[in-house]
């Protein structure tokens, strides 16, 4: 996989709305580009939790996640002059953080992480366990318990599935943005996303299925 460039890419045809982007973001980014360190620190404070979770989910190692997060923010500041506002700042930041996290992961597990390979697991896509979940999982579990379930479940995915799901469904990047960030084709992103969603659904069954709620 080629390293993602730090230059902003053209916006996708249908960018998804993001819950994290606030109205004052362009003002903060402009101020930071002009050298206002405080403005950049405000952006860091706004996104540090999400960037740390992203790094943690990709690396599955707290020390690596912390390093990847730090390096992502520092690199973002250093290259801020290259950000021209054609994409969301957060999307641009996520791409940098993904690159840092993947480098950490590859360093620790050099023979296990390849996003380039066309993954054909030979697994049947048709779900094996089909059971309704019943009450909303958010109502059944305390927030901290649910967070633990979600993070331990996504950790069970193969890294090449995990990172696609992370970008597409947690960070809300578009399919095109995800493909660009990972150096994958759009069909490859779609294929891995479908498998990731189905695998996660199946793995979450053991916590959320209705029969366990009686």
């Amino acid at each position: 996989m080629s390293a993602p460039k730090l230059n902003p890419v053209a916006p996708p045809a249908h960018p998804l709305p993001s819950q994290v982007v606030k109205d004052d973001e362009p003002v903060l980014v402009a101020a930071a580009k002009a050298g206002d360190v405080s403005a950049f620190e405000t952006l860091v404070g706004r996104y540090e939790r999400k960037i740390f979770r992203l790094s943690q989910n990709i690396t599955q190692n707290r020390e690596d996640a912390e390093d990847a997060m730090q390096e992502a923010f520092l690199k973002a500041f250093e290259h801020l002059g290259e950000f021209q506002g054609n994409s969301r700042f957060y999307t641009w930041l996520v791409r940098i953080a993904v690159n840092q996290a993947l480098m950490k992961l590859r360093k620790r597990r050099p023979n296990q992480v390849s996003l380039d390979d066309d993954i054909d697991t030979g697994e049947e896509l048709i779900p094996r366990e089909v059971e309704d979940w019943g009450p909303s999982p958010e109502d059944r579990y305390e927030q901290s318990e649910l967070s633990g379930i979600l993070s331990s479940t996504i950790a069970e995915l193969d890294p090449s599935f995990r990172v696609v799901f992370q970008l597409r469904d947690i960070e809300e990047l578009s399919t095109e943005e995800t493909a660009e960030a990972l150096g994958l084709s759009v069909p490859a992103v779609k294929s891995r996303l479908l498998r990731a969603r189905l695998k996660l659904r199946q793995k979450l069954n053991r916590y959320f299925k209705r029969s366990d709620n009686s």
């Binding site: 620190e41 520092l74 999982p137 799901f165 479908l194």
Partner: protein, 79 residues
């Protein structure tokens, strides 16, 4: 439309990336296939749960090391 095709188009259906004819065909199948309906509903919930989940606060020591790194590199402050 059969169950295999519904699963194949599941992501496109959930992401609302299908043309109206294919979407209608899937919805006709879902109205008559409880298993596929459950798969669609629980996959949709899977995405929503992850998408809506709030990241945990940064551990205090992690936050402090980030602050120190920013001070060192951005402000040239020794910490």
């Amino acid at each position: 439309m059969n169950c295999r095709n519904v699963v194949k188009e599941l992501s496109n259906y959930l992401d609302e990336g299908l043309d109206t004819t294919l979407k209608a065909s899937i919805e006709k199948h879902l109205a008559n296939c409880e298993d596929c309906k459950v798969v669609v509903d629980t996959t949709r919930q899977t995405i929503q749960i992850y998408c809506n989940s709030e990241p945990a606060p940064l551990p205090e020591d992690t936050r402090q090391r980030l602050r120190d790194a920013l001070k060192r590199r951005l402000r040239g402050v020794r910490v």
